[in-house]
């Protein structure tokens, strides 16, 4: 779980000053959501790991310039989701015959089916659904994160959910 806003600002401030333990707290709080978001968009564990890792390396490079008044999570998630969409688009252009992935943790059949159908949506629809229902961003926040008009976010959410509902019947 991500820490409170106050915790997070303190971690960022102390990490900027060189505290490795506070930087680790920041990493531990945000790795899970970042990795899961990437995985749900790209549906490839190795690519998700690379994407989330690259986002954290970007965070290290930008740490001194980061404005502590702003929340860290949305900035990180924007990088992760944009890169995941780019990766998924590129993958769609050169589909591979077989995708071998790491074994998934145990889930209910319904969850498996839901995730499978989520993977069949376009990267753009997957991204807004992941941001809305996994990371709990509001449509307005998603619009800012992905630099999309709010109406586009709403229509992608609606179409994505409609497609999921239709396929899960």
């Amino acid at each position: 779980m991500a820490g409170s806003g106050r915790d997070e600002r303190a971690w960022v401030r102390r990490a900027q000053a060189g505290s490795a333990s506070d930087f680790e707290a920041l990493f531990r709080a945000h790795w899970g959501p970042a990795y899961r978001a990437a995985y749900l968009v790209v549906r490839d564990a190795a690519a998700a790991e690379d994407i989330a890792q690259e986002a954290f390396l970007a965070a290290v490079r930008a740490l001194d310039r980061f404005d502590r008044r702003r929340p860290f999570g949305p900035w990180l998630h924007r990088i992760v989701v944009n890169r995941a969409i780019d990766w998924a688009r590129a993958r769609a252009l050169r589909p591979e015959a077989e995708q071998v992935d790491a074994p998934a943790p145990e889930r209910s059949e319904h969850d498996d089916e839901l995730l499978r159908e989520l993977g069949r949506l376009s990267p753009e629809h997957r991204a807004v659904i992941v941001l809305r229902y996994l990371l709990d961003y509001t449509p307005g926040e998603i619009a800012e994160l992905l630099e999309l008009p709010r109406g586009t976010v709403n229509s992608r959410l609606r179409r994505g959910l409609d497609a999921l509902k239709e396929r899960l019947r």
């Binding site: 490795a20 930087f23 899970g32 989330a52 890792q53 970007a58 001194d64 310039r65 890169r83 688009r89």
Partner: protein, 366 residues
């Protein structure tokens, strides 16, 4: 939905090893450095206002610029560190600077660009597109309303100039003949793709990039941008296209796929970006509070850091030197990017070229 991705914890440990190492290698910014820059810039701003109000303030501005800029900077631009010649536009007009530092004012022109081999210059003024030789002699003119951003490309025998006029992209042959409109265009300089084919990238709207095969009159590709694009640039081999915006820069390959991106954090933005020499790497100027950094967006390598505004990145024709323009210090800084790291500064840029100077090109011919 409760969900855990495959191998999440193992992936976290692997990533943490790498991210921790990157964190350990960084150099934290100390309190005095973090706070000295805002004070310094505030002082510069106060001094600039003072200069505007009273003549004696000018000496204060000069002193502060010296304090902000590169310490060992030359008092003027005595020479260029690499072969080639620079085109510089400013409120006083258009200047040509040779490698030995000699400068020639070509006249009162607004925008300019070199011909492919640096033998001529295309320039614009109120209602004319003009072709000049390096002495400033006019070879031909073309009357068009408020032309902007001439970009000249081609071989030694067959060239084209793309430019903007009246909200349209226009193309004319290098001898001034065959001028014609291509389509609607936003106010961003177009960019020719290096290579044998005549392919041009331009902004058909402020957020829509169009790549056009000029000879076939066919659109090769369109790409959308999330925000207004400020600059288009091709890598020297023509394989990658840089689409620069202050908050979301993208690099696209020949199939229109984004292969690199730069997303500054909320409180920062980029002022310029350019391919590093002849590589596919991109360097950017990141403005953060009162300081600016020039760094590689993929490798994170820091080329230069300065107080105040760094404005432009321009690479030498051989790709070994990076020119960073620094209006706050009234300096240009040349940074050797290969081999031994060297920094050469030149001061009093506005006294030599006039106010609001911009580098319009650093080109090939000696």
């Amino acid at each position: 939905m409760r969900f855990e991705a495959p191998v999440e914890r193992e992936a976290a440990e692997r990533a943490w090893t790498i991210v921790r190492a990157a964190y350990a290698e960084r150099e934290p910014v100390t309190w005095p450095r973090r706070h000295a820059r805002p004070l310094m810039v505030a002082a510069v701003l106060v001094a600039v206002v003072a200069a505007a109000l009273s003549p004696p303030g000018r000496s204060v501005v000069h002193s502060l610029r010296k304090a902000v800029g590169v310490k060992e900077a030359e008092p003027a631009l005595f020479s260029l560190p690499a072969r080639g010649q620079l085109l510089v536009t400013s409120r006083s007009g258009l200047w040509l600077v040779r490698a030995d530092g000699s400068k020639r004012r070509l006249g009162r022109y607004r925008d300019a660009g070199f011909s492919p081999h640096g033998l001529y210059v295309a320039a614009t003024r109120a209602n004319q597109l003009v072709a000049l030789d390096p002495k400033g002699d006019v070879r031909w003119t073309l009357a068009r309303p408020a032309p902007r951003f001439p970009a000249w490309a081609g071989t030694r025998t067959d060239t084209r100039i793309a430019y903007l006029s009246g909200g349209r992209l226009r193309i004319v042959a290098g001898d001034g003949t065959g001028d014609h409109a291509v389509g609607a265009v936003a106010l961003v300089p177009p960019a020719w793709q290096p290579g044998p084919r005549r392919v041009l990238a331009y902004m058909s709207t402020p957020r829509s990039v169009t790549v056009l095969d000029v000879d076939r009159g066919a659109v090769v590709r369109r790409m959308a941008s999330g925000e207004r694009v400020r600059k288009l640039a091709w890598s020297t081999d023509g394989r990658l296209l840089l689409v620069f915006t202050p908050h979301a820069t993208r690099v696209y390959d020949s199939r229109g796929r984004a292969v690199a991106q730069d997303d500054p954090s909320d409180a920062t933005f980029d002022r310029d970006a350019a391919f590093v020499g002849r590589s596919h790497e991109v360097a950017a100027i990141r403005a953060s509070g009162t300081s600016s950094n020039v760094f590689s967006i993929s490798g994170g390598r820091l080329y230069f850091r300065g107080t105040g505004v760094l404005s432009q990145l321009v690479w030498s024709p051989d790709g070994r030197w990076l020119l960073v323009t620094w209006p706050t210090a009234d300096q240009w800084v040349f940074i050797q990017s290969e081999g031994r790291r060297r920094i050469v500064g030149a001061s009093r840029i506005s006294a030599q070229f006039g106010m609001s100077s911009r580098v319009a090109g650093w080109c090939c011919a000696g």
